[in-house]
């Protein structure tokens, strides 16, 4: 099996080049092979953009699940505002329309020196380039007593799916007047505004169905993303319902007692009717096992190509990377994935390179008809991803502007998931 080098590719000219680019699948021997491990937002986007932009590359996507459940918009489901099924997206279009080989298996191990990926079913995939998009894992022993069994009693719901359904069931069956405790994680973590959006949307549900219920946020931090916008909205929409306790008051949650649904802090123990425990995070397990993460628990990458700083030939995108100023969000994962796909295509086929454009855009719900947005552009500076320009909604915006943002957010979800999976 031979892979294209840029020099070999450069020897081809004119008609020969066009023919080479349009070689049919039967001549797959000559094609470069890219394996993408992880079919979340980052992995699926890399696979789609590589397959659609570089015909000289064979793309294989390894993802155990048949359908991906988006974390974004799962807070609307928790509030009873969106059916669970609307969060699910299959891989059929990626296979059918873009010719991606989708393998529904787990990756067992990565061998960067041999350039192979071992799958759980015993088979092995060879690659010229590997992209790993492993998402997040929870840090071991970050919260004493929060083990697999405890997660079934006090869900994290931070990887969307069964955990999200469990939390919704618990919120629905909670008695009016009950206390919902949300344990918010230390930085950095997946989707900085999301714990506070969750508290806001659960409050909107309580207001309609359980008006005497209360929400307590036990934070590992002393401040949080878009704090002024959230606290303004909590006063306007849900006066007296949401209480936020920063780490300076409690010392943060150190242990969990699942039997009594209790959160233990230096400043006292808090007993919940329903608890949502979001632990401290790190790059997904596969990244840890493959030596792609450094001592921080996250994966250092080149900010232009997203190639691992620790394992050449392996690229990483999404929540698992050390993204500099880029937050861990689905939008950033999608934006990084496109830059990564174009960089790999240029490396493997010798095609033109253009400066990458990296962005984050977030729509965040404060109430079902009140959303705010932000936008940030990024560029690589001295080996790090730096924010260039940043704008966020203002506290004093009119309710009409916020209603429009909530409507735009719905349209964004449709377009964004179409961009990734459509």
């Amino acid at each position: 099996m031979k892979s294209w080098t840029r020099r070999e590719f450069g020897r081809l000219t004119g008609a020969a080049l066009l023919t080479a680019l349009n070689q049919p699948k039967a001549r797959g021997q000559a094609k470069a092979r890219v394996v993408v491990v992880g079919g979340g937002i980052g992995g699926a986007t890399v696979a789609k953009y590589l397959a659609s932009s570089a015909t000289a590359v064979d793309v294989t996507l390894v993802e155990p699940r048949q359908s991906y459940t988006t974390c974004f918009f799962s807070n609307l489901y928790l509030a009873g505002r969106r059916p669970f099924e609307s969060l699910g997206h299959g891989y059929e279009a990626l296979a059918r329309q873009y010719g991606i080989t989708v393998i529904h298996e787990s990756a067992a191990a990565i061998h960067p020196a041999a350039k192979t990926v071992a799958l759980n079913n015993g088979s092995k995939l060879s690659y010229d380039r590997l992209v790993v998009a492993p998402g997040i894992a929870f840090r071991d022993r970050a919260l004493e007593g929060y083990d697999d069994a405890a997660m079934e009693i006090m869900p994290h719901a931070w990887n969307a799916g069964q955990q999200t359904r469990l939390l919704r069931q618990q919120l629905e069956s909670m008695e009016d007047g009950g206390l919902f405790v949300l344990v918010a994680p230390p930085n950095p973590f997946r989707c900085p505004p999301a714990p506070y959006e969750r508290a806001s949307l659960v409050a909107s549900y309580f207001q309609r169905r359980k008006p005497k219920a209360k929400i307590l946020i036990l934070d590992a931090k002393d401040s949080f993303n878009a704090q002024d916008l959230f606290q303004d909205a909590w006063n306007r929409h849900y006066p007296g319902m949401i209480e936020w306790l920063p780490a300076q008051f409690t010392g943060g949650v150190t242990a969990i007692d699942a039997k009594t649904r209790s959160m233990i802090t230096a400043g006292g123990t808090f007993k919940a009717a329903v608890a949502n425990v979001i632990p401290a995070q790190m790059a997904g397990r596969l990244a840890q096992q493959a030596g792609l993460a450094n001592r921080s628990g996250w994966c250092p990458v080149d900010p232009v190509t997203f190639e691992s700083a620790l394992q050449p030939g392996v690229h990483l995108v999404g929540d698992a990377i050390i993204g500099g100023d880029m937050p861990k969000s689905a939008f950033c994962a999608n934006s990084q994935a496109k830059a990564c796909a174009f960089a790999i295509a240029a490396d493997l086929t010798g095609s033109a390179r253009f400066p990458a454009h990296l962005f984050n855009t977030c729509y965040t719900y404060l109430a079902p008809d009140d959303a705010f947005s932000n936008a940030i552009s990024f560029k690589p500076v001295d080996g790090k991803l730096k924010s260039v320009i940043s704008f966020v909604s203002k506290v004093e915006e009119s309710s009409e502007v916020r209603r429009q943002a909530a409507r735009a957010a719905e349209g964004w979800y449709d377009a964004f998931t179409h961009d990734v999976f459509g």
């Binding site: 966020v392 409507r407 377009a415």
Partner: protein, 104 residues
Amino acid sequence: MRPVARSAIATGLVLLVSQSGVAAETDQGAQLAATCASCHRLDGGGTGIPSIIGLGEERLTNALLAYRASESSNHIMHVIALSLSDEEIASVARYVAKQGSNPR
């Protein structure tokens, strides 16, 4: 205004390129338009986010220049447009104008 003939030739080329699937590796406009696709459907579908399909190259160019000049109408588009050079705006407008079910 662009000559009709040149526009028609450009349309033909881009259609050929998109069908053969090499657009994004050869065309800066296609790579830039990947950013548009994170919020705007390039097949002309979708609601809630204004469509950018069927607008024509000149309107797209003018819209991006206006977004770049002022934050007032939309801060998201202001940030996007501020990151684009004149050349990049021309190239993405040219590409997007050719997308959708009824490209002009």
